[in-house]
Symmetry: C2
Subunit: 484 residues, 2 copies
Amino acid sequence: MTESESRTDSPTDPLAYDVVVVGAGPVGENVADRTRAAGLTTAVVESELVGGECSYWACVPSKALLRPVITRADARGVPGVRQAVQGPLDAPAVLAHRDEYASHWKDDGQVRWIEGTGADLYRGRGRLAGPRTVEVTGPDGERRVLTARHAVALCTGSRAALPGLPGLADVQPWTSREATSAGAVPGRLIVVGGGVVAVEMATAWQALGAQVTLLVRGEGLLPRMEPFAGELVAEALTEAGADLRTGTSVTSVRRENGTVVVVTDTGDRFEADEILFATGRAPRTDDVGLETVGLEPGSWLQVDDSLRVDGHDWLYAVGDVNHRALLTHQGKYQARIAGAAIATRATGQPLTAGAWSPHTAGADHGAVPQVVFSDPEAAAVGLSLAEAERAGHRVRAVDVDFSAVAGASLYSDGYKGRARMVVDLEDEILRGVTFVGPGVGELVHSATVAVVGQVPLSRLWHAVPSYPTISEVWLRLLEAYRDS
Amino acid sequence: MTESESRTDSPTDPLAYDVVVVGAGPVGENVADRTRAAGLTTAVVESELVGGECSYWACVPSKALLRPVITRADARGVPGVRQAVQGPLDAPAVLAHRDEYASHWKDDGQVRWIEGTGADLYRGRGRLAGPRTVEVTGPDGERRVLTARHAVALCTGSRAALPGLPGLADVQPWTSREATSAGAVPGRLIVVGGGVVAVEMATAWQALGAQVTLLVRGEGLLPRMEPFAGELVAEALTEAGADLRTGTSVTSVRRENGTVVVVTDTGDRFEADEILFATGRAPRTDDVGLETVGLEPGSWLQVDDSLRVDGHDWLYAVGDVNHRALLTHQGKYQARIAGAAIATRATGQPLTAGAWSPHTAGADHGAVPQVVFSDPEAAAVGLSLAEAERAGHRVRAVDVDFSAVAGASLYSDGYKGRARMVVDLEDEILRGVTFVGPGVGELVHSATVAVVGQVPLSRLWHAVPSYPTISEVWLRLLEAYRDS
């Protein structure tokens, strides 16, 4: 198939496309990029900003808020520099920089990118209107009906899920959106939740000058990672001045003269200027016309490894909406796979078989990486020990304290961190690896390559880490396994 | 074979060992660790400090000098922090920290480590005195003759090689030893050379307050890496205020009233307070008794992949002395291999065959990683494009500018860097990868795993880099290869 000009295939019906993508976040953009590269005419529908949650209210602004925190923490560990960075962060400078990286919440650059692919962008809310059909309601109320010869890809992502507390709306709580885009530092901030968003935003706003109270229902932070990740991050957050309460549920919340008042199931009362609920995500599928094709509105969409919705050979659900892995990079990965699968099926060819084929999102099963940009950073790929055991793998985990790694001590005085490698005893490949410590965010990709490449331990001994880098933790992990 | 107490195998001759290791740097230490773990009695001979060049006059003190430079550069790229770090480095604090990491040039900790392995340490100069025999001349002049039932391992490393300039000794030039251990910042420093030591020490001392002039014989810096590595580092060094002169050879050097005066082949004259020659390395084999076993004193020792010296079934040469890869981590790798080979042969068993067996230093051939701790960092593994072509591989290189990587921009404002991947077109595995940019030092291990694991590109597409990390350059490299 060769490149063709958008829409020229159907001169008779300008709204007939090969592919219609609903949602122009990074996931939808990447599906469109791949279907366009394969020469398929493609429409992209977006009701908010092109670029999606990630660009304006998640990854990008949150990293822009966190990078100064991490940089300062790094500098504080280095004699000769640490003296200079004892003062507080320059919050206005950080917020202004964040605004710039969030493109001041304007999407011109992203629109140009989509146009560059040759896809057609439709502003408005896209809803399925039966098989292979998407109705777009524009900002002016105008309705248009797009048809998709080969595929519709739903890439509408997720939104913050708020708990069912009476009166919560009146409190005007922050969700991840407000937490990443707020224009001023609140004096006191309550963060409800213990996952990635809660941890990252507590880290950022505490460092920017807020007095943060973190209310966590579970027993620890980052519950989906190895337990030591949450423990080390909790220790550091507490040292940074945050008030961390675990095993605590919010039972009521209200505003009194502008002040947020929270009461918990332990009977404690907390006051703050703002409250962030980081208590999970819900799929943005409640208003996309799922009912017109026999699916349940508001549900996560079940897909196969080509990202096709079970029972609908023309419908794909890519990114957060399928609930396989709620991470931008994993959604983009799925988008490349889905785009390739759509293009191949459009030619009538069968997909390439195999767990690691270009048409199979194999990494979603046990090879998903994640970096939490906290201080210290927590980064992991694949399965935790508990997950591997639950999955029925016969595994052994070995741990290494970063105090055994010269490169870590040289990175930062008093470096604190820990690593774990989960080894499958059948074939001595890695099921999962976790690193927690300053500067490990770039280290995890080495583990991702090892896990995905199924590189056995015997070969990993020949992958020599440079001295003196933090990466030498790999040697210590191999030694720990050998000697245990 | 089980663990046995050191020397108890030969109650009649306390100086008879299974293995004698000459040189107690990281390489000798690791050979001894492995032979001891296999239950072989082991002697270690050291004439200077236990811990070797790396611990006192190379990797460790140089990284301690460079880490503050890199940290400050990182911080200067981050709004909200950059304002605090505009001033100069606190040089006395950096030097004091360096002293601490060099253990104040005392080796008690390393001695305890060796003793912990159960090896016997002999202080003094070790020289071969015929096959399987090492004569040790102690500091008091006392001579002892150690015998080695199974193996002697020469791990004496390398020293700075000075050019044959008349009167050079009177100038008292710095070598890597003085450059890493100097107690004060010279006002002006001339650095002769363009390799790793020259670049790192020019970076460190310029940042610590010296006015550095870099005199480079070749056309660029870091000539063993991809050309863009030297170019980016040269640009940054010049921006930092160093005076870089390429295509320049020193023709004379002298001291006039304490001032170093250098004249070059271009007729230029430079003055400085100190001069560092970083012009290569020579093997420390001139005084180790090679002549007693038919080898050439002062030569690099030719070894096979088990690190055994050609033609001598009892003699191993491990680390710098064999000239395979003059890097601490690669020497330690060889030490593990050599130790395992010695132990296996001691039992009369054959070695495990294969390029990646525990008895084969296969990574030395095309999978050696290196990190240059300059600003920006330069990190590479395997072959450069030119090396791969010279080796006869059919390859294609793709380059990516880090401006295409969101995680890089978020790491540091105005991030400048470049990456190259050299792909073998036969089987689409990687022959080499180079990253140049801030913070890439920990990124290179991902490439090392890919090169050593021979993970094909088709599989690397499933190794998803986390967003937004610098590691996402991997995705850009794969896309560049796909689309080129």
